[in-house]
Amino acid sequence: MSEMFAHLGLGFGVALTLQNVALCFVGCLVGTLVGVLPGVGPIATIAMLLPITFGLDPVGALIMLAGIYYGAQYGGSTTAILVNIPGEATAVVTTLDGHQMAKQGRAGVALGTAALGSFVAGCFATLVIAALGAPLTKLALLFGPAEYFSLMVMGLCFAVVLARGSILKAFCMIMLGLLLSTVGTDLETGQERMTFGFPPLSDGIDFAVLAMGVFGFAEVLRNLENPEARDVVRAKIGRLLPGWEDIKQSIAPCLRGTLIGGTLGILPGNGAVLGPFASYTLEKKIAKDPSRFGKGAIEGVAGPESANNAGAQTAFIPLLTLGIPPNAVMALMVGAMTIHGIIPGPQVMTKNPELFWGMIASMWIGNLMLLVINLPLVGLWVKLLQVPYRLMFPAILIFCSIGIYSVNNQPVDVAFTALFGLFGYLLIKLGFEPAPMLLGFVLGKLMEEKLRQALIISRGSFMTFIERPISAGLLLVAVAILVIALLPAMSKKRDEVFTE
């Protein structure tokens, strides 16, 4: 326990320097600024803002990135409440009651509750990460290649089950991501694989190029096609701070949501996405008058928003301790860290403790920032929401173009991104959800490496994955989750959860 506080102390020492607080502030601000724009989800926001961290030292860059991440998450909630457009899957729940509250002239209270709930959740999640970070890292050091491989298989199975839409199609996307990850020079023999003999491909497909093409450009194409009916709230925003009555009503849902979201977020494979749904369902079940839900019940905002933020933050745990990103956003963080020369994993904590703990401390500061930034700036966000899409997407485009160019100072990367934009658009047209592909792509290289190592150690016997108890357990969970999800009764329930 005292060790944990010593670590947190070290972290705050790093995070509270003037430069890092400023970076955290700017990150939160621009993250919210871009995240608020309708039709720009957190993945696109982070992909777009990556280049502004390039000039910084790794610690500063990571702190800023974390700030951007929270800002983007919170910006998504703002859009959900004010415009009824969820930026991502987890914000869907917030639209249900949040937008109703806004229509009743209580937008301010809804936003305030979301911010306060997120802050409470963030404080709790920061403590959880600090507490679990060290022991999980020790656990990770016990993991051999076989265990790592099985863990990633399990993560991908979770991701398939929890993806939106058809399971079969999500499976297709994961495999496609793995396939794309094998492009480039082979790690062991140095042979070029599937590069068309084209030199820029010999390092493999650049992560930033793939992410910005599929999530930046393709999203623009998707949005251009379906001009969204923007339902910007015309009613007054009203006062921001929830009154005593509101606080009394939302405090229990907020704590329950934090617990649910925080727990689910730790699961490898996008457990965080379930948090808001689970919290909303729970609140509705235990409410005295469930009929109020969907008509502006404050519990329906406080619970899911807390769950969302807690999950968003504990999702860092698998990434920081095991080096395995649980969802597409975290996959993006891996890409960002690699650009700064940090390979996420257990060695980060032992080798650069100031980076690890500094980032964790900055998470808490970031949550505080959000509260400070968002409440006074709500008026500005409302103005931003009224920017017409015909001006928004050219701005997105120039940002992405400059950003991709800056990753490697390679003009050809921009053309590649356009190509992946076309690819992403094709996927959207064919009804594939591209987020699992990004996860598969990021995990692919690591999986191949671990698979090869494991098979060399076992002299070519696949039994190694079943003979080692931890590995066998992980694979068993993976199989179980797939079987359960494919049972007819469960798949029906799954559809209900995602359409509610």
Binding site: L168, K169, E188, P394, I398, S401, Y405, A418, G421
Partner: protein, 172 residues
């Protein structure tokens, strides 16, 4: 489900063009990967070669694609919707123009000098903007200039990224 079962009894035909095409797409990609990886040695389980994973993943992709296409003939689903060439052309074209002009290029007899962001920036905003149905040329032109100025200040000066502004005019 029950409705689908009744339909399934009515014989095989394409019931979801979207899923059917998606399956074919997966098979085509897998075929391409197998073709490109044809010369890579598989190796053995004891010492996996460079071709083992690409080939086996491609086979799995093809199998999943086939399953998806078969499912599309049994169960009802989404139809393919129209493809918007206007968006593809202008939005992706704008990005390609940016890539071509920012540092210049040479393809055979065609030669474009290094134009820098002061030219490429407005070009990308303007060309992309033409993709919108409700485009207003004058507004877009002003916006293109404003965005470029903002980006130049942000990326070149605030973040000092090495991006050429206008080497032919300003020398930076």
């Amino acid at each position: 489900m029950s409705l689908n079962k009744i339909e399934a009894a009515q014989g095989w035909r394409i019931r979801s063009t979207q899923d059917f095409a998606g399956g074919l797409f997966m098979i085509a990609l897998a075929g391409l990967a197998l073709f490109l990886a044809r010369d890579l040695p598989l190796g053995s389980l004891r010492q996996i070669g460079p071709g083992m994973l690409p080939k086996s993943i491609a086979v799995i992709c093809a199998a999943l694609g086939a399953l998806l296409s078969l499912n599309a003939m049994r169960y009802k689903g989404e139809k393919l919707s129209g493809w918007s060439w206007r968006g593809v052309l202008f939005v992706l074209g704008a990005a390609i123009v940016f890539g071509l002009t920012i540092r210049g290029f040479e393809i055979g007899p065609l030669k474009v000098p290094q134009l820098g962001m002061l030219v490429s920036g407005p070009l990308v905003v303007f060309i992309a903007g033409l993709a919108a149905d409700d485009v207003r040329i004058k507004e877009l032109a002003i916006f293109a200039v404003a965005m470029t100025t903002a980006c130049a200040l942000l990326f070149k000066y605030a973040l000092s990224l090495p991006i050429p502004l206008a080497p032919w005019l300003l020398g930076i």
